[in-house]
Amino acid sequence: MNWKYWCWKLVTIVIFIYVFSAGLLIPLKPGIEEILPSRGRAGEKLGLQIKAYNTSFTKGSIEVFIKSRDSFWIKTKDLNIADDRTLSANFNVPNFLPDASSLSQYSIIVSSSYDGAFVIPGKLILSQDSVNLTEAQRLWSGVDPQFASLSKMKFPYRNILYETIRNTFFHVSLWFAMFALLGASVYHSYKYLSTNHLDHDMKAYAQVRTAILFGLLGLATGSLWARFTWGSWWTNDVKLNMAALSMLIYAAYLILRAGISEIDRKARISAAFNVFALIAIVPLIFILPRLTDSLHPGNGGNPAFGSEDMDNSLRKVFYPAVTGFIMLGFWLSGLLYRAEKLHLRIEDRLT
């Protein structure tokens, strides 16, 4: 067995097993889906119905808090657990609120000894008739909550995304793999132009075709994901349009190749087109969405894969997923290249 030949392929397989098992089996953190009602008044009783996701309220002891922006807290008077995912919590909202305006936003925090603590920020709106800050601060400062920290690795909970946050590993890494393959294909096209060795062109061709597969899969998976988070199969988002555009450009590459019969001429012209298209146009796919509004993270003022969207638990699966998909892409394109090369060799022998 040739060690060098199989080593990285085995690594790819291991990475894929890790990505799929970790990406699908690690649970989401618990989170609050909905609270009802979302409005309350100072000095009155407030009965909150809390619907949560991925929780087991029947286990462990539970406390519910209301938190103001400046970290003043009140705690539930009593609570009523309906099932694992719903509970109703009753509060006595004090007469004054720790906020200078009559209407302000408050967060709800549920702390459970079994699930850990989770929050729905700014969802509750409380109103008051008159403002008395010093009195309010006295009324709201009796509580000093202690939260149990969870040691288990879990993916973050996001309100619209739910479990689809796992698609980060599958959908996003497809695009990374596509760009890696395109980059490699341009390198090989350049190599072909400078050395005239047909192997390089065949490599570039195989890589472009694999990249197109990944791009189409990225569009299809993205479209499915968008349907159930943004509400439609296709939104008029810059990033989507640019992705579709790059697919068009590479469709043009394929048509160009199909249109030329002479092998050397075909290689030369398509290599030139490949270098031209990727370097002149594709960078825009990265730059343009940053300048205009986009729904995607990292674009148009949305947070990038920084602190907000990517937490450490996601990263531990996301980076291996990207590496794995890139390696799979090179594996697939390598197979295609070898088949193509065999084809050429057999043709040579026959003629």
């Binding site: 479990e163 698609n167 299809a220 499915l224 994901w225 159930f228 295609l336 088949a339 057999i346 026959l350």
Partner: protein, 62 residues
């Protein structure tokens, strides 16, 4: 013949669109993740089949 079968395939999809919608959104939208993985595998297998056919043709030539 083929077209008819295609249409038969599409029939439950259009008729039960609403039911499908609820299904996709149930259990924390996990079915969307399954759908995404299914698409990826379908694509990879389509690629494999094309490669297979190509190699088959080469074998026949030889």
């Amino acid at each position: 013949m083929n077209n008819k079968f295609l249409l038969l395939w599409l029939l439950p999809l259009t008729a039960g669109a609403q039911a499908g919608e609820d299904f996709m959104r149930s259990s924390g939208k996990i079915h969307v993740v399954y759908g995404v993985i299914l698409i990826i595998f379908a694509g990879l297998f389509a690629y494999l089949i094309r490669l297979d056919l190509k190699i088959k043709k080469l074998e026949n030539k030889q």
